[in-house]
């Protein structure tokens, strides 16, 4: 549905996007993560033609946005819904009028667009706030109006630029739940730019890690988690740090679908009993049990045997940092 090929963007000698190649399947919720300055926003701006890319292509549903301008660019934007960090609603319009706006731009008659906008407000649960201006709504409500507005022109894809970064944890959960349910009901493809791993954990089917304007990892969530040593997997399942002790050795063990008990069984059979689990995270992401543990053993001589035994059991092992 979304195909980026060798997309590059340079600003006065600074490379913001360094040849991005990426594809997002229809109906997928795809997260783009990275620190600030990694190029996430530039990527979404090039994908919408708000910014001109230097080279490469960015197509949505087979149409290369980077090749369009003028009326054809405006036309193609109508098939893209966009949600912003700060909802960017117009203060001069009521919630209902804001949702109507894309339909007004497209030239739909007043009565028709009004009833369509009311349906959309109902979809995001804000029918009772139709006549309120944005200033009278909470941040979460504003964002829901923003989502309703983005859906007004029945787009095939929804681009979300840090949609929950300005919201508290609880409201974030509501907004993410809303986005996931919209995908399930409307079959819309969603691209979410975020710096919060929790967003990826909660609703994404696939994710891409952007560093210094380049893709360092991309894939479905299950594929990422099946590679526990990868940077995204480590970010998705973070592990608290423990102090170093010279009398013991510490290993980092990552599980992707393997039960926790298997680790202890394998260790016992290798004659290297685990002294303690220093820290650990276990959770279900994308339907499979994944986790990371930091385990320590007191007998330094058993280290090699333990590592071999665990690896033979399909468990990812590395020395603790």
């Amino acid at each position: 549905m979304i195909e980026l090929t060798e997309l590059r963007k340079e600003f006065a000698g600074v490379t913001a996007l360094d040849g991005i190649t990426l594809s997002v399947a229809e109906g997928e919720i795809h997260g783009i993560v990275g620190r600030s300055g990694a190029g996430k926003s530039t990527l979404i701006r090039c994908l919408t033609g708000l910014e001109r890319s230097t080279s490469g292509s960015a197509s949505i549903d087979g149409v290369d946005i980077t090749a369009l301008s003028g009326a054809r660019l405006r036309e193609s934007r109508r098939s893209i819904g966009m949600v912003f960090q700060h909802a960017n609603l117009l203060d001069s319009r009521t919630a209902l009028e804001n949702v109507e706006h894309p339909l007004q731009v497209a030239g739909m008659k007043r009565a028709e667009r009004r009833s369509r906008a009311l349906e959309l407000l109902d979809l995001v649960g804000l029918t009772d706030r139709a006549d309120n201006h944005p200033a009278q709504l909470s941040g979460g409500q504003q964002q829901r109006v923003g989502i309703a507005r983005a859906l007004a022109s029945e787009p095939k894809i929804l681009l979300c630029d840090e949609p929950t970064s300005a919201l508290d944890t609880q409201t974030t959960g509501q907004i993410l739940g809303l986005i996931a349910s919209l995908r399930d009901r409307l079959g819309i493809t969603v691209l979410i730019i975020t710096h919060e791993m929790s967003v990826v954990r909660e609703i994404c089917d696939a994710a891409t890690l952007l560093e210094n304007g380049a893709v360092t990892q991309t894939g479905s969530l299950s594929a990422i988690l099946a590679d526990p040593g990868s940077p995204l997997a480590k970010d998705l399942v973070p592990l608290p740090h423990v102090p170093h002790d010279p009398d013991r050795f510490t290993l980092e063990v990552a599980l992707a679908g393997t039960p926790l008990t298997t680790v202890f069984d394998l260790a016992a059979r290798a004659g290297a009993p685990i002294a303690s689990v220093e820290s650990g995270t276990l959770e279900t992401i994308g339907g499979s049990q994944v986790g990371r543990l930091r385990i320590t053993c007191t007998d330094l001589r058993t280290r090699d045997d333990l590592e071999t035994a665990l690896r033979s059991g399909g468990i990812h092992v590395e020395a603790a940092a």
Partner: protein, 227 residues
């Protein structure tokens, strides 16, 4: 200096001429403000649109329009008014009276208001413009549906500032044959030493300014939905 002339409401300058003069001042202010908005708004939008990093950036157009506007703003009103006498005569058929004064008031207020419009439009957040661009809106739709409505409180306040400035300009115009309270104040209050006429004119001018400011603030608050 005569001391036995009738004063205050017995003074014919006040009894007979004050109210028509007030009417002329109000007419001049209202007409000049209206014309300044009609011409200054599009001019301000033009400045905004052609400015650097704006929607239809055009350095040459911006610099030329900007220079014309600044020249218009820097010529002292009294000089501008005298220079515009032939033009005022061409438009209104006379170089004297409040109608002729409206012409020069308008000419001086247009660039003033245009700059205020430009500044107000710049206050509109880029994110709002981009959100509506993403709906597929063209520049004309952005101006009509985003820039002007979102900047409306500022545009109204700017119009108020312009109207208040015009009240004092109408008084200045009185010095060179314009009508209104300024002319009355100069010809009776100043040249004939009638302190009562002078004071009456000043009181009414202050009242005009206060009234305009009140109405402007009220209107700005009505169109402001930000809080």
């Amino acid at each position: 200096m005569t001391t036995d002339r009738p004063t205050w409401f017995e003074n014919p300058a006040i009894r007979i001429e004050l109210w028509p003069a007030l009417g002329e001042t109000l007419l001049m202010t209202v007409f000049a403000t209206a014309f300044a908005i009609i011409a200054g708004l599009p001019l301000g939008v033009w400045l905004y649109m052609t400015a650097k990093d704006s929607l239809t950036e055009n350095a040459v157009v911006y610099r030329v329009v900007s220079a014309v506007v600044d020249i218009g703003r820097s010529i002292p009103f009294i000089i501008l008014m005298i220079a515009l006498i032939p033009f005022a005569r061409f438009v209104t058929g006379s170089a004297l009276g409040w109608q002729a004064t409206v012409v020069s008031l308008t000419v001086s207020a247009i660039p003033f208001y245009a700059r205020l419009v430009e500044a107000s439009l710049r206050e509109v957040a880029t994110g709002k413009i981009e959100a509506v661009q993403m709906m597929g809106a063209g520049n004309w739709q952005l101006v009509r549906q985003v820039l002007v409505p979102e900047a409306l409180p500022g545009l109204v306040s700017g119009a108020t500032v312009t109207a208040v400035a015009l009240v004092s300009y109408t008084a200045m115009a009185g010095a060179v044959g314009g009508g209104g309270l300024g002319a009355l104040a100069i010809s009776y209050g100043y040249q004939r030493y009638q302190t009562d006429t002078m004071l009456a004119c000043i009181v009414l001018l202050v009242a005009c300014v206060a009234l305009l400011q009140l109405l402007g603030d009220l209107l700005a608050r009505t169109v402001d939905h930000r809080a």
